[in-house]
């Protein structure tokens, strides 16, 4: 019995020490959601925690849908999504939520044509026709007519698309829906759609794998992925009639074009944005934060981080192939962050 008491005392002592230690532990903020901005977010969390040792982040990149489900259930302090929440999803929330744009990305059209690098020119209608299965050969006059300086091979076009539900697909199909009436009627847009033709690859790496391994293949991947893997990317004709290659500058130009008509809740698609140099297939990615925070300390830390992210954090975007937010949007966001509160008290 004596030993039993000794053990019990030991356990109690350990518990006391552990709970005392945890009081000095950093505040930990939990988030979940989109995979596309994950490299940027983990860089942010790392840098921010280094200069603010009192806060630690834990982010699970489980996908945008998962992020929305978790923030709705209140199991995380913030969510993240590549697609704005739908009205019926917002209706299920316990309180008002803010969509805080964090970064912008572009989706590139990549292809595998022997001996040809980047620069294939495509118009919105030709791109839609390819993905609808109406243009099936590379030497189709509609493609050859746009690319007179290139010798288009007499080969089948093999379409590759994402087989997993993804924000990349959402942006890409959003674009095709915006620019092509037939696409809108037959397929529509979403994170997963009923593709008229093509081979499905899982993830950016799956699509890239199909495109790299299949002569005559065409697909779409995120700009960062195409750049890091040195894939051939197409230039697309934008709204003003210019053929624009997918670059960070062209993505930022698209954001600047879209910023003028940015709605108050930031839930906007920036595909086919106006502007001479705008690359047309671009999208925002958002952090989802409740307007009325339930925990003062956590809420304050979260708002401080968001403020840092939209200012200092933006400088880290280009190195990771994300386009920084345009200035007018950042200024507008500062006002929005002031509205985040704990029992009516601003946390900014």
């Amino acid at each position: 019995m004596k030993t039993f008491h000794g053990v019990l005392a030991g356990i109690l002592a350990t518990v006391a020490v552990v709970s005392f230690a945890s009081a000095a532990d950093p505040l930990s903020i939990n988030g979940a959601g989109a995979t596309f901005p994950y490299p940027l977010y983990s860089k942010w969390f790392y840098e921010y925690s280094n200069s603010n040792p009192g806060v630690r982040f834990n982010y699970q990149s489980i996908g945008s849908g998962g992020g929305i489900r978790q923030i709705t259930a209140g199991t995380v302090d913030f969510g993240a999504s590549d697609a704005p929440m739908k009205e019926e999803e917002m209706a299920r929330l316990p309180g008002p939520i803010f969509h805080i744009p964090a970064a912008m990305g572009a989706v590139t059209v990549v292809y595998n044509l022997e001996g040809q690098g980047s620069g294939l020119r495509l118009t919105p209608d030709v791109l839609a026709a390819i993905f609808l299965g109406k243009i099936t050969r590379w030497n189709d006059p509609k493609i050859a007519g746009l690319n007179k300086s290139l010798a288009m091979p007499n080969a089948d076009i093999v379409v590759a698309h994402r087989s997993d539900g993804s924000g990349t697909t959402d942006i890409f199909t959003n674009y095709l829906t915006a620019v092509n009436t037939e696409w809108r009627a037959k397929v529509g847009h979403g994170k997963a759609v009923n593709w008229p033709v093509g081979i499905g690859g899982k993830g950016n790496e799956g699509v890239a794998g199909v495109v790299k391994q299949t002569p005559g293949a065409v697909g779409y991947v995120e700009l960062a992925y195409a750049k890091q893997n040195r894939m051939s990317v197409a230039s697309l004709r934008n709204r003003e009639g210019n053929f624009v290659a997918p670059t960070l500058e062209a993505t930022s130009a698209a954001a600047a074009g879209a910023a003028k008509s940015m709605p108050a809740d930031y839930r906007v698609s920036i595909v086919d944005a106006p502007g001479r140099d705008s690359y047309p297939i671009a999208g925002l990615t958002w952090l989802l934060v409740y307007k009325n925070q339930r925990d003062e300390a956590k809420g304050r830390a979260l708002v401080r981080f968001l403020k840092w992210a939209i200012h200092d954090g933006q400088k880290m975007e280009a190195a990771l192939d994300y386009a920084p937010l345009p200035k007018p949007v950042v200024e507008k966001l500062d006002k929005t962050l002031r509205e985040i509160n704990y029992k009516g008290k601003t946390l900014y």
Binding site: I62, G66, G167, V193, V210
Partner: protein, 309 residues
């Protein structure tokens, strides 16, 4: 069964504890089934039995049917068996009966090592090695010369039902092989010697021994391989082409039940999510039915074999 405990408290405690574990396994299975059923109810209510026979899969219009996925799972798995069973049984016979001792260990060791490779590695090597080789040396010539046969109809892209079947066959070989070897090893040496002493050739010996003694066991090994093929997810989704369509041609793209769940689950919601869970439930049922059918056939084979001897 447990009537010999004789009142010894330790025995009794052990009996109760092991019963609890057994019950926990049972409860887990029932719970799994119940949760799948509950979560798939919205899709079940909306589509009913038509879910199984409908071929549409459109997340935008929220129209869902599982037929192409059921088809893809069954066809790719049976294709894998078609390739893997002769290969594994042949290898097993070679290792057990013909191979010189210095070759026995490395061959069986390497074959069993195949089982230890993670399936995502199989998938990647499928994309980068198997698919290009299949496409250029097998599918393209076959389409060119035998394209009028529906099974070999083009166009050839690479990722296809055939690629999935071949990849799966490589993955299930170690399972069928090692069980087949065990089964072959159970044949009494005296029986083999009896055949040989009667003037039978080695081939006749193997034929008689397998026909009489090992057929049921090899069938069991096949079922084990089939179970693995039906549920394989990652490797299949990387080479099957992920197209929810039913095509006569083995060179066209398909989709499997496990693959569509892995692909779309993370970003699905509402009816889409419920439909994916319903596919999971169906996958469980398909596996159950195939296994039960195999068990039944196995018991008949065993009965016939024991009558025959």
């Amino acid at each position: 069964m447990a009537r010999n405990t004789g009142g010894n408290p330790k025995d009794l405690a052990f009996e109760k504890a092991s019963a609890l574990f057994a019950f926990a396994v049972l409860a887990l299975t029932v719970l799994l089934f119940a949760v799948l059923l509950r979560e798939s109810l919205p899709a079940l209510r909306k589509f009913g039995a038509s879910f199984v026979v409908d071929g549409a899969w459109d997340p935008v219009l929220e129209k869902f049917g599982a037929l192409p996925f059921i088809y893809g799972t069954l066809v790719s798995s049976f294709l894998a068996l078609l390739i893997a069973v002769p290969l594994s049984v042949g290898t097993a016979i070679f290792i057990n009966e013909f191979a010189p001792p210095w070759l026995k260990t490395p061959v069986s060791l390497l074959a069993e090592l195949l089982a230890a490779i993670p399936s995502v590695i199989y998938g990647l090597s499928g994309i980068f090695i198997l698919v290009p080789i299949l496409r250029d040396t097998f599918m393209k010539p076959l389409t060119k010369h035998l394209g009028w046969v529906p099974l070999f109809k083009g166009p050839v892209y690479g990722p296809s039902m055939l690629a999935a079947g071949v990849l799966l066959s490589i993955m299930i070989i170690p399972f069928i092989l090692s069980v087949s070897r065990e089964v072959l090893a159970t044949v009494p040496q005296r029986q083999k010697e009896a055949v040989l002493s009667l003037g039978g050739t080695r081939w006749e010996m193997i034929r008689i021994v397998i026909g009489q003694h090992c057929l049921a066991g090899i069938f069991g090994a096949t079922v084990l391989g089939l179970g693995r093929a039906l549920g394989e997810t990652m490797a299949v989704t990387m080479v099957i082409g992920n197209r929810p369509e039913i095509s006569d041609s083995l060179f066209q793209q398909g989709y499997s039940m496990a693959a569509v769940i892995a692909n779309e689950f993370a970003e699905a919601d509402g009816l889409h999510l419920s439909s994916l869970i319903l596919i999971g439930l169906l996958l469980m049922l398909v596996t159950l039915v195939v296994n039960l059918a195999a068990k039944w056939m196995l018991s008949r084979m065993v009965a016939r074999a024991s009558r025959g001897i």
